[in-house]
Symmetry: C2
């Protein structure tokens, strides 16, 4: 039975066998202190947040499989593994290595715009070499969440996406692995980084000018710039899309907001037409902004867990009203 003979409602069960989004990134235990409390050794990491957000939207958008590639230590709990699996994520690409799971601790102060890192223990990540399972090697979208750019490159080489590749990064790699980062950026279709990173990469304080320099430098089609509480500005071909953040009174823990944002975009791009149109991108950015607002409101992945399809839709409508 060929898929072109299917009626609309039947598509999801069939395309469900294929890998739609492959996400490589960190799986971690985070300890976070914010003015509103703290949490210790909570499930986190870029692949975790991006994966959970992506699988949330995959259900809405009738996508197929979402696979994670990463590494955890022997201490990674069965309940956390079950949580990821139950959310619909394929964990074949998650290796269990000798040693402890990656740990990060940090705190937020004042406007909570930026985390202050207290400790980073790479643990099993120190010698991690990502291996993409054979069944994951031609996804629609390959998304490299924040990770050493050399590991991102390795995954991109193993899993050439049929449609689109995207990556996130962080200031650390601009500092210590700039050449390697620029090289991998030159090989993707869409780059998501924050405003400070764009300024750093371009060595220019003016964000619009810095963005144009980065686009020229890496020759990317789409540059999505996260601005935290100030929203997002995207440069797409010759277009600019600028959106505010979803206004939130309950800022509890910004950890994972950027990953939630990126994972949501990945899901939308997988469900798109193939050609990334301006309207598709804008729609993805709207959904991603609303999704991140849930992550922001609780510690760890709790906010994402509290995001039901109904709550998401209500907030998306409210956001649309606010903008139009």
């Amino acid at each position: 039975m060929s898929s072109c003979l299917l009626r609309k409602g039947e598509v999801s069960s069939v395309v469900g066998r294929f890998m739609d989004v492959l996400i490589v990134g960190s799986v971690a235990y985070d300890s976070v202190v914010s003015p509103l409390g703290n949490v210790k050794d909570a499930l986190g990491g870029s692949a975790t947040y991006a994966g959970l957000a992506c699988s949330f939207h995959a259900k809405r958008l009738s996508l197929g499989q979402i696979g994670l590639v990463g590494v955890v230590g022997e201490d990674f709990s069965d309940s956390d593994r079950a949580l990821l699996q139950n959310s619909g994520l394929d964990l074949q690409g998650i290796e269990t290595a000798e040693g402890e799971t990656f740990r990060w601790s940090g705190s937020y102060h004042g406007t909570m715009a930026e985390a202050q890192t207290h400790e980073t223990h790479l643990n099993v990540f120190e010698h991690f070499e990502p291996k993409v399972p054979q069944s994951h090697q031609s996804p629609q979208i390959t998304f490299c969440a924040n990770l050493h750019p050399a590991l991102q490159s390795s995954v991109l080489n193993q899993a050439k996406p049929r449609r689109l590749s995207m990556l996130d990064s962080m200031n650390l790699w601009i500092d210590i692995a700039r050449e390697s980062l620029i090289e991998v950026m030159q090989n993707v279709d869409l780059v998501i980084i924050n405003d400070g990173e764009v300024r750093m990469l371009a060595n220019d304080e003016n964000l619009v000018r810095a963005a144009r320099k980065v686009v020229d430098m890496i020759g990317v089609q789409t540059l999505v710039i996260k601005r935290g509480e100030h929203g997002v500005i995207a440069f797409h071909d010759s277009d600019i899309i600028s959106l505010p953040a979803y206004p939130t009174e309950d800022v509890v823990d910004p950890t994972g907001c950027g990953d939630t944002f990126a994972g949501s975009i990945a899901a939308h791009l997988a469900s798109g037409s193939g050609q990334l149109s301006r309207d598709e991108l804008r729609h993805a950015l709207l959904s991603a902004t609303v999704s991140a607002s849930f992550t922001l409101e609780s510690f760890g992945i709790e906010g994402l867990h509290s995001m039901t399809q109904e709550r998401f839709q209500t907030r998306l409508e409210k956001f649309n009203q606010m903008l139009n």
Copy 2:
């Protein structure tokens, strides 16, 4: 001949006899250093920028008179006076006092988000007591640009607007005249301040929560929060409107951007229905954002001068495309 017998094209010459917007604020000579150059003793001040922006839009919107109330010194040049008059501003309310015109000098660095003040010489402003000319006493809109809150109160008492009162302020008055500022804020319909000032007033780092606290504290219908390069967020009754800034590569001198923004809003409110609707406010904020982007691109009032009706329209359309 009653105005209700007029055809549309004839309105402006008749309503031109009435005062539509009264603006009180400073007229100053500014010296500014920015990474892109510097300017010495350039015409500036909150009333200057707000007045020029307001009169620009008054022409587009077929408004009547725009009057300024303020004080200059004996050194205020004839050419600057002529420039204000030729732009269509009524200067009957501008007093010439013994002494020198108010002078401010400052510089911008890095992202240029905030000015570093070098010197402030109040000069003639030190003993200024605003007197609103009789012909200016019932404008449609009274706009108190940034000025000591006691002077703003005095003007509001003298010139009760028929339609709407609005005010701008700055962190200095929150520091040294908080009670007086809150009192005058309680007496206006619309308050325009920046994000840092909202946080200061509410003593809360979360902008959305801080905004709600300020709205409760002063019981204002509309709170417009300027966020510089991050745009604007407005709280209007139970609505929120959030807009990004116009993306600008040529940030030369942010001095006067906030006043340009507020003066543009004043013009739009004067041309509105009387009831400030959400759509009217949003339209005013869009035009104000685009107007401020012109001020930003040159030193002093040069940017405003370069804003022709055609250039404004082109940029407004581009901004609308960016948002929708």
